[in-house]
């Protein structure tokens, strides 16, 4: 038994931390956050170079053929760094092709996705928080898909969008396809763009294994969001400790006030053990099929909830400065909001967990 990271996994996180510190310091996060679109082609190329675009894709397609845990460890570091861009949707599109694509589709797309040359995304949500195929209306008929999707990450720059279909199938839509329009959406998190899609008989091809692969896609997404939030929340706690260590009130560094110290200790204590929750869910995804679905939902609900709580508390610990645009807190705060809401909020996944337990 070893419920811990391998040396390779430790190294992966270390390497990525160095990468993020070098290529995407907070100033660059802020720059993208404030820019019109969050996607930064130079950063994306750099990410592709270190292998971030194909971590779980097969080696013969140029990927690293790692497990979801490795991808989640990367997501944690990206959350820490607040790294902007299409990582999440891209990873999910890759998994969709890997698990549901035909041989031909895989060969056509996976090498380009793994190299980062093509950007992938997923179009899932429909109005009224419909994140589940049972509530979707989008349909594929005679090679054309019709419907409306909400909250599609980086739709404007995606070369390939995996569209979720009513009942659980999936279809591929390519950038600039006829009848496809992208409706801008002013999202709360400036590091991950969102858009609506209007699909008016858009040429599309089905992924043959779509219905079976949907649960895998969802579970992977839930785990990655949990991992990202875990990283974001720790980043906020650490930054707060640093900031309050320099800021004095009544002649004393704020961090030395007992109340502040205890609030920080409480936040860290609620957060740190949850690291194992996302590890477990990621591990279950590849190795404990019976627990994969429920543990992904549990990790997503628990960690994204905790992370937003951390963000709210540390914002107030900063005092007035925490409420300003120029203070970095809000960048990670809004990232935590995004992670918590995307793919459905905690209430939704808790109800699913209850149902899955037979309660």
């Amino acid at each position: 038994m070893d419920f811990g990271l391998s040396e390779e996994q430790e190294l992966l996180q270390e390497t990525l931390r160095d990468f993020v510190a070098r290529e995407c310091p907070p100033a660059r996060v802020r720059e993208r956050f404030e820019a019109d679109g969050a996607h930064d082609p130079a950063l994306w190329s750099a990410m592709a170079e270190v292998g971030l675009c194909g971590l779980c894709l097969p080696e013969d397609c140029g990927g690293a053929q790692l497990e979801l845990l490795d991808l989640a460890l990367a997501a944690e570091v990206l959350g820490e760094g607040g790294v902007p861009g299409p990582f999440l949707g891209h990873a999910l599109a890759g998994l969709a092709l890997l698990h549901a694509g035909s041989e031909e589709q895989r060969w056509r797309w996976l090498p380009r996705l793994a190299s980062g040359e093509a950007i992938g995304s997923v179009a899932l949500a429909e109005p009224d928080s419909a994140w589940e195929p049972e509530r979707w209306a989008a349909r594929l008929l005679e090679g054309r898909v019709g419907g409306a999707k909400r909250l599609v990450p980086h739709a404007a720059v995606a070369d390939l969008i995996v569209v979720g279909l009513a009942g659980g199938g999936m279809a591929l839509v390519e950038r600039g396809a006829e009848g496809l329009s992208v409706e801008p959406f002013a999202g709360v998190d400036g590091t991950r763009d969102l858009a609506g899609l209007c699909l008016d008989a858009v040429p599309a091809e089905a992924l043959p294994g779509g219905s079976e692969a949907w649960p895998r896609l969802r579970d992977a997404g839930l785990v990655l969001l949990a991992a990202d939030s875990f990283g974001s929340a720790w980043k906020l706690i650490r930054d707060t400790i640093d900031y309050l260590g320099t800021r004095r009130q009544f002649g004393t560094p704020l961090v030395q006030f007992q109340s502040v110290k205890h609030q920080l200790a409480d936040l860290a204590t609620e957060l740190e053990p949850a690291r194992s929750l996302y590890w477990y869910a990621a591990h279950a995804f590849d190795h404990i099929p019976a627990e994969a679905e429920r543990s992904a939902a549990l990790a997503k609900a628990h960690i994204t909830d905790r992370a937003l709580h951390v963000a709210r508390e540390v914002l107030e610990l900063h005092g007035g400065i925490g409420f300003t645009w120029e203070c970095d807190v809000h960048l990670w705060y809004k990232r935590a909001m995004w992670n918590r809401a995307f793919l459905g909020g905690p209430d939704h996944h808790r109800e699913r967990c209850a149902r899955l337990a037979g309660w």
Partner: protein, 405 residues
């Protein structure tokens, strides 16, 4: 115990309603009144004794005997009609009481009436980047030079500084003196080369506050309120006013009603959220807090009206912490009930979106409000500062360890 306002006050309410119906131009959904119309409405309201009630007539007030119940009626009725109860802002609310208590006769004559007419607009210069809740540590200096003060330094969290004609604020004039003792309360014209105002953008995307930089800014020596080194004491008058301004129970009641409507429209687990046992119980749990605050407001108002303020000192100290924490809880619950589109929308986007959430007091959608709530919580003393105040002044607990006086 009597929850009615009594015939005399009900007559007063009627009278106010009639006045508003007759004289407030926007009363029946008409177009918003122009500045001239507002001014003549205000003059009439002062004439009738409705506005600036505690201010002597010779300074432009209506000089009425203190009557918290009439004042409550006026607040509610003017609010309901959307009519302004005098000029809004820190000038009438904070500077004018300070001048009436501590200012010289010349200062009162020069500033009070124009402020009440909106001809002089004010901003408040207290906070500094390094001081936060610890005002006594402020660093912005004012040095006498001939017949002027020369001001250098940097203020922050100055609302409406870009619109203001003058600033009232605290400045260090006696550098040798310890902390509080070295501070004076000065009035300073904002439209001069030595003053630079930079908007301070908030996480909500809007900029309601500013930073103000002073580089040899000047103001005549006579523009000191109280004596040199007394600024700390003088400022207490307005700080008390600021504390009382935050935490109006009606805002919370409106927000709670909005929350119920939100729950009525929202869905949870495929059913109307309001049918969910957890949602129902949580709403009532929150309502317990809301009603407690509402009735505690009645109690404080009654105590003030009947000269028993000493009995309600403790709940009054608690108003701000209680209200801001409660508002955050209400908004957290609301944020959980909205749909994914709304919870992922940027604050501005939201404004146009969530119609349900709109109320005169909480503009914007739930996400916007959810973010804004931090502003109210932090402004005028963070939750931890409030806990210190309640603990020390309310419960008689000793001061913190090594907290300098």
């Amino acid at each position: 115990m009597d929850l009615s306002f009594g015939p005399e006050h009900e007559r007063f309410r009627e009278e106010v309603r009639e006045f508003l119906a007759e004289h407030w131009p926007a009363g029946d959904g008409g177009p918003p009144p122009g500045a001239g119309q507002e001014a003549s409405f205000r003059a009439l309201a002062i004439e009738r004794g409705y506005v600036y009630r505690r201010i002597p007539r010779r300074y432009g007030g209506s000089e009425q005997p203190a009557d918290p119940l009439r004042e409550d009626i006026l607040r509610r009725e003017f609010f309901a009609a959307g009519a302004p109860l005098g000029i809004p802002g820190v000038g009438p609310a904070m500077l004018v009481p300070t001048l009436l208590e501590h200012g010289s006769e010349e200062q009162r004559e020069e500033f009070v009436a124009p402020t009440l007419r909106g001809e002089i607009r004010w901003c408040q210069g207290y906070s500094e980047p390094g001081s936060g809740s610890d005002l006594a540590s402020l660093q912005t200096r004012a040095e006498p030079d001939g017949d002027e003060w020369v001001v250098n330094g940097h203020k922050i969290w100055t609302s409406s500084a870009h619109l203001a004609d003058w600033m009232f604020g605290l400045f260090r004039t006696e550098p040798g003196e310890p902390r509080h003792a070295g501070i004076s309360y000065l009035l300073l014209p904002m439209r001069q080369p030595g003053v630079e105002v930079r908007p301070l953008r908030q996480m909500t995307g809007t900029a309601e506050f500013n930073e103000v930089f002073f580089d040899d800014a000047r103001t005549p020596l006579r523009n000191i309120v109280g004596r040199r080194g007394q600024g700390w004491k003088v400022s207490r008058t307005t700080l008390v006013h600021e504390r009382n301004m935050i935490g109006d129970p009606a805002r919370v009641q409106n927000l709670f009603s909005d929350l119920v409507e939100l729950a009525r429209g929202a869905r949870l687990g495929g059913r109307p959220a309001l049918e969910d046992g957890g949602v129902r119980r949580r709403l009532v749990e929150l309502e317990g807090y809301v009603r407690a605050q509402q009735y505690s407001g009645y109690r404080q108002l009654s105590a003030t009206a009947h000269g028993r303020e000493d009995r309600t000192r403790l709940p009054t100290l608690m108003n701000k912490l209680y209200t801001t924490e409660l508002v955050k809880r209400l908004l957290e619950f609301g944020y959980d009930l909205i749909d994914s589109d709304e919870s992922l929308a940027a604050p501005d986007e939201n404004d146009a979106r969530a119609r349900l959430a709109r109320s005169a007091n909480y503009p914007g959608g739930w996400t916007t409000q959810y973010l804004y709530a931090h502003g109210a919580s932090i402004a005028g003393g963070s939750p931890n500062i409030q806990r210190n105040i309640i603990g020390e002044r309310g419960l008689g607990l000793p001061r913190d360890l090594r907290q300098t006086p």
